[in-house]
């Protein structure tokens, strides 16, 4: 690994996406991929530019970003807290885990009628859906992280007079952290994913709306554009999660 230089490490991960892009462009030029159905990268880029020009793209992305973050914060905190309590207390675990595992399995699309009933058709319902989606990965991984903290270290902490908050922050949380970060990384993805469902509820903005609208009217370039945007956001979320992993799990290297 030492032989791979720092800059190479930055570049190599982009090799696969870039190669795919090139193949796709070349096949499009050669007419192997019919343009009407899967537009060439250059066309997608064009579509992106023109949406950027009109300011539409910016608007879609920024409204979605807002919904995403609001939902992420709410759902993340709830998921974390439940994971925490169920991980620590066997009673809470017994009482709530089954219910959460059941809730987790309900598709958002099927929930929409109920969500509209409960929260109407405005922002609340969209943020609710994102929060719901984000909650579960955070929950499961926090739960697992806490359950798998070395029992011996917890015992040590207790024997040294730690309890409650101090036990949590000195032993349990750091021990569970790497798993919690996996949950957060996962949920940063889910955050964007859920938006596409949330934004089928009465709206006229957001990147989920943009994608579904394009699907409705078969604007393949915009569909592909939004897929690309999603992918880039995925990478971005992942980089953020990795940054924190690196920073917080320093001792583990």
């Amino acid at each position: 690994m030492d032989r791979i230089k720092g800059s190479m490490k930055q570049i190599v991960p982009w090799v696969v996406p870039f190669l795919l892009l090139i193949c796709w462009q070349v096949f499009s030029w050669m007419g192997i991929i019919p343009e009407k159905i899967l537009p060439a990268p250059s066309d997608v880029f064009q579509a992106g530019l023109s949406l950027l020009g009109t300011g539409e793209l910016y608007e879609h992305v920024s409204i979605s970003l807002w919904r995403a973050l609001a939902g992420f914060l709410i759902g993340g905190v709830i998921g974390f807290l439940f994971g925490l309590f169920n991980g620590i207390s066997k009673y809470s675990d017994l009482l709530f885990d089954t219910s959460i595992q059941m809730l987790r399995n309900i598709p958002h699309l099927a929930l929409i009628p109920l969500v509209i009933l409960w929260f109407g058709i405005d922002e609340t319902s969209k943020i609710f859906l994102v929060a719901l989606g984000v909650m579960f990965p955070v929950y499961i991984n926090t739960y697992h992280g806490i359950k798998s903290v070395d029992k011996k270290l917890i015992e040590m902490g207790r024997a040294y007079g730690l309890k409650g908050k101090s036990l949590f922050f000195s032993v349990i949380f750091p021990g569970a952290l790497s798993s919690i970060l996996v949950g957060i990384r996962f949920s940063l993805g889910v955050m964007w994913l859920t938006l596409i469902v949330a934004e089928t509820i009465s709206t006229d903005s957001g990147i989920g709306y943009m994608a579904m609208n394009a699907r409705e009217f078969m604007q393949m370039d915009v569909i592909v554009l939004s897929i690309v945007i999603y992918a880039l956001f995925g990478k971005l979320s992942d980089m953020i999660a990795r940054y924190f992993e690196k920073k917080l799990l320093h001792w583990n290297t």
Binding site: K152, M156, A159, G161, S166, V171, W251
Partner: protein, 258 residues
């Protein structure tokens, strides 16, 4: 809130048994540690020394019998005790100094640094535990236990990974701290010499029972070269090794006050 009181604690075990499934590790233990007494526990590997300490620390519940701290039965975690675990148990995500300060109330910095210097690791303050050598890790764990000034100190083979030289230094450290603070202490060790050097009383566990309960009435500081020291050492060793005693141990009385 420093919980060290002037009075060290009195510990009593009454008929303590411990079963792990089918395995009867401790078969009815009766033992008293007077206030401020230094007891050493020796015995073969797997005889139940760590189990005994864990019971006294309240980390495990006895299958039957009772443990009393100052006459009050121990129900759960023993708040008067600090235990140094046989396997160290440093938190890998905390630097050495932060490992030592765990659970220390109030002004910890000076104390923790001093404890670390006492065990000869002042320069490893900011190191991660994973980067320490085996003996260094053990000394950090020792420092962590000592820094708390507990009423009852439980040490589970605290010096097992140390070379002769460092070991002697650490024995000196433990002894001088004990003389200073007069906490009650139970030391598990496999080094009988260490037991004789440090303890007021040496206890030998065999087949889950206390097979020997030997006062070591030597004055401190103890010279390992003095004949009485060797005699106690040999006597206990003989018992452990199941050797026939070579001399009559009644003579021990002669050395009592030496």
């Amino acid at each position: 809130m420093n919980f060290h009181t002037e009075e060290p604690i009195h510990v009593q075990l009454a008929g303590v048994e411990k079963w792990y499934n089918e395995l009867n590790v401790l078969k009815g233990m009766d033992l008293q540690a007077e206030r401020g007494e230094f007891i050493a526990v020796v015995g073969k590997s797997g005889c139940g020394k760590s189990t005994l300490l864990r019971l006294v620390a309240g980390l495990e519940q006895s299958s039957s019998g009772f443990i009393y701290m100052d006459q009050k039965p121990l129900k759960s975690l023993n708040k008067h005790a600090r235990i140094m675990f046989q396997d160290g148990r440093l938190l890998p995500w905390k630097r050495v100094i932060d490992n030592i300060r765990i659970g220390l109330p109030g002004e910890w910095k000076g104390k923790a640094t001093e404890a670390l210097e006492n065990v000869g690791l002042g320069d490893k303050k900011k190191e991660w535990p994973n980067n320490l050598s085996g003996g260094q890790r053990q000394r950090v764990a020792l420092a962590r236990a000592l820094v708390h000034d507990p009423e009852l100190l439980l040490l589970d083979e605290p010096l097992g990974a140390l070379d002769a030289f460092t070991r002697m230094e650490m024995q000196g450290l433990i002894e001088s701290l004990w003389q200073q603070k007069k906490f009650t202490s139970i030391l598990v060790t496999h080094d009988v010499e260490e037991a004789v050097a440090l303890a007021d009383r040496v206890i030998l566990i065999e087949s889950g029972m206390i097979m020997m309960n030997q006062e070591i009435p030597l004055a401190r500081p103890r010279q390992r070269t003095q004949p009485a020291f060797s005699m106690y050492l040999e006597m206990i060793m003989d018992r452990i090794m199941n050797r026939m005693p070579k001399k009559n141990y009644i003579v021990e009385q002669n050395y009592q006050m030496s």
